[in-house]
C-alpha cells in the first residue's frame, strides 16, 4: 500500500510540475529610481491573459506641492502600439487584457529633473479556458476554478501591496511634516529673538550720546 502510494506520488509530482508550467503566475514587486525614463519588460505567455498591477511614487522630497506633477506610465505591446497609459499620477492601479503574447514594455516617464523612486508591481494571470482544457488532458474543470480562486487571491495581494506602498508614501509625508514643524518652530523663535534684539540695539544706537546731539 505504501509502496504503491509512493510510486503514484512520483508520477503526480511530474504532473504537478506540468501543471505549474501551464498555469504561470509571476510576481514582480520592486522599486526603481526613475531619472528620466525607466523601462521594465514583462513577458506575457498567452494571448488574453490579464495583466494587472499598480505603482506608487514613494520617495519624494517635494518642497512645494506644485513641484511635481507626477509620473507617466506607458505600456507598449510587442507589436509597438500603446496598450495602456496613465499620465501625471503619484500612484495608480492598472489592468488590461493582453491582446497578444510576447514581451510587454512598461515605461515610467519622469518629466522633472529630480529623480523619483517608483515602487511597482506587475502580475500576469492566466486562467485556463475551454481551449486549454481540450488541448491538455491533465486539466479538468476544477483546475479552472482553482485558477480563478488563485487570481482572486492575487488581486487581494496586489491591492495590499498598493496599500503598503501608499502607506509608505504617507509615512514619508507625515515624518517630513513632523520634522518641518520642529525645525521651523525653533528657527522661528530664534529669528524672533534675534530680530527683537537687533531692534533694541538699533534704537539704542539711534539715541546714543555721540549721535544724539547731531541727529535726534
Amino acid at each position: 500500500m505504501e509502496r504503491t502510494r509512493r510510486s503514484v506520488g512520483l508520477a503526480e509530482v511530474f504532473w504537478i510540475l506540468g501543471l505549474l508550467a501551464t498555469v504561470p503566475c509571476r510576481l514582480s514587486a520592486l522599486s526603481v529610481t526613475v531619472n528620466d525614463v525607466e523601462c521594465v519588460y514583462e513577458f506575457v505567455l498567452y494571448e488574453g491573459d490579464t495583466v494587472s498591477g499598480n505603482f506608487v511614487v514613494v520617495d519624494h522630497d517635494i518642497f512645494w506641492s506644485s513641484d511635481h506633477p507626477g509620473i507617466d506610465l506607458v505600456v507598449t505591446s510587442p507589436a509597438g502600439n500603446t496598450v495602456h497609459s496613465l499620465k501625471g499620477t503619484s500612484g495608480d492601479k492598472f489592468e488590461f487584457k493582453a491582446p497578444r503574447g510576447g514581451m510587454y514594455k512598461f515605461c515610467f516617464h519622469n518629466p522633472n529633473r529630480t529623480p523619483e523612486t517608483v515602487s511597482f508591481y506587475i502580475h500576469v494571470g492566466h486562467i485556463p479556458n475551454e481551449h486549454d482544457l481540450a488541448k491538455d488532458e491533465h486539466l479538468n474543470p476544477i483546475n479552472v476554478k482553482i485558477a480563478e480562486l488563485r487570481e482572486a487571491l492575487e488581486s487581494v495581494t496586489a491591492e495590499q501591496r498598493y496599500l503598503k506602498a501608499r502607506e509608505a508614501r504617507h509615512r514619508h509625508t507625515n515624518e517630513s511634516t513632523r520634522r518641518r514643524l520642529t525645525i521651523y518652530t525653533l528657527t522661528e523663535y530664534l529669528v524672533l529673538a534675534c530680530a527683537s534684539g537687533l531692534q533694541v540695539v538699533y534704537i539704542r544706537r539711534l539715541f546714543n550720546k555721540s549721535v544724539a546731539y547731531n541727529r535726534v
Binding site: M1, E2, R5, R6, G9, E12, W15, I16, L17, L19, L20, P24, R26, L27, S28, A29, L30, S31, V32, T33, C39, V40, Y41, E42, F43, L45, M103, T117, S119, I122, I142, N143, I146, L149, R150, L153, T157, Q160, L163, K164, E167, A168, H170, R171, N174, E175, T177, R178, L181, T185, Y189, L192, A193, S196, Q199, V200, I203, R204, F207, K209
Partner: protein, 243 residues
C-alpha cells in the same frame, strides 16, 4: 492552525488510508523544519528550472552607471532572485555584468563580478530596504544590454515541489495548500497594515497637538519679546533723561 490542517487533511482522505495519515501527521511536524531547508534546495532547483525568457522581469542596463532595484522587506522573510543577461544578437559575445546586493545596514549580502547568469538568496534579518545593483563590466561598455531578474520573496520563494514530495500531497490538494498559504499571507499583511496605520495615526495626532502648542508658544514668545523690548527701551530712555 496545525489542528485545522490535520482536520482538512483527514477530510480529503478515504478510510483505507489511515496508515498513511499517521505518516502524514509525522511528516507535517518535519515540514516546519523543512521549510527553512527549502531555501537551500531552491538554489539547486531554480538553477535547473531557470528559463530567462519565460518567467522574469527585464531591465535595460545603461552603458555607464548602475541600475538598482530595491524592495522594502520585513524581518525574517526569505528572498530569492535569479538573474541572467539577455543575449539578443551574438551568443558568443555576451556582455558580462556585476551584481551587488546590500542590506539596509550596509552589509553586502552578495557580490559577484564578470558573470552572465547567477542567483542569490537571503533571509532578511531586519526590516528595511534591500538593494540589488547591476552594472556592466568595464570591458563591455558601449552597448546597452538587458538583464532578466526573477525576484521572489516570502511565499513565492517557497519550494513547493520539495514540500509536495516530502508530504506526498499532489494535485488539487497541493493547489489548495498553496491557496491556504496565500490567505495566511494576506492575513499577515492586513495585520501589518493595521499596525502601521496605528503608528501613523499616533504620529499625526502628536503633530496636530504640537502645531497647536507651538502656535500658542510662538504667540507668547512674540508678546513677551515686545513687552521686554518696551520695558528695556523705557528704562533706557529714562536713563538718558529723554522721557
Amino acid at each position: 492552525m496545525e489542528t485545522e490542517r490535520e482536520r482538512e487533511h483527514s477530510a480529503t482522505e478515504t478510510s483505507g488510508e489511515r496508515g498513511t495519515r499517521e505518516e502524514g501527521m509525522r511528516t507535517r511536524d518535519e515540514t516546519v523544519i523543512l521549510r527553512a531547508e527549502a531555501v537551500f534546495l531552491c538554489s539547486v532547483g531554480l538553477l535547473a528550472a531557470w528559463m530567462p525568457t519565460a518567467a522574469a522581469l527585464w531591465l535595460s542596463l545603461p552603458t555607464s552607471g548602475t541600475k538598482c532595484v530595491s524592495e522594502e522587506i520585513h524581518a525574517g522573510v526569505v528572498a530569492m532572485a535569479d538573474y541572467a543577461v539577455i543575449h539578443d544578437d551574438d551568443p558568443r559575445n555576451t556582455p558580462t555584468i556585476s551584481v551587488k546586493v546590500t542590506a539596509p545596514n550596509g552589509d553586502t549580502l552578495h557580490h559577484k563580478g564578470n558573470i552572465t547568469i547567477g542567483q542569490f538568496a537571503f533571509t532578511s534579518n531586519e526590516p528595511g530596504t534591500y538593494l540589488a545593483c547591476f552594472w556592466l563590466d568595464g570591458a563591455n561598455r558601449g552597448a546597452g544590454t538587458s538583464v532578466g531578474i526573477s525576484w521572489k520573496i516570502g511565499i513565492a520563494a517557497k519550494d513547493w515541489e520539495s514540500i509536495a514530495k516530502k508530504e506526498k500531497i499532489e494535485g488539487v490538494e497541493l493547489e489548495l495548500r498553496k491557496l491556504e498559504e496565500a490567505v495566511e499571507v494576506i492575513h499577515e499583511n492586513l495585520l501589518y497594515l493595521r499596525n502601521r496605520e496605528a503608528g501613523m495615526r499616533d504620529v499625526s495626532e502628536k503633530t496636530n497637538s504640537r502645531v497647536a502648542m507651538f502656535s500658542f508658544m510662538s504667540l507668547t514668545v512674540c508678546i513677551l519679546a515686545s513687552v521686554v523690548q518696551l520695558w528695556h527701551l523705557k528704562g533706557y530712555f529714562h536713563k538718558k533723561k529723554l522721557i
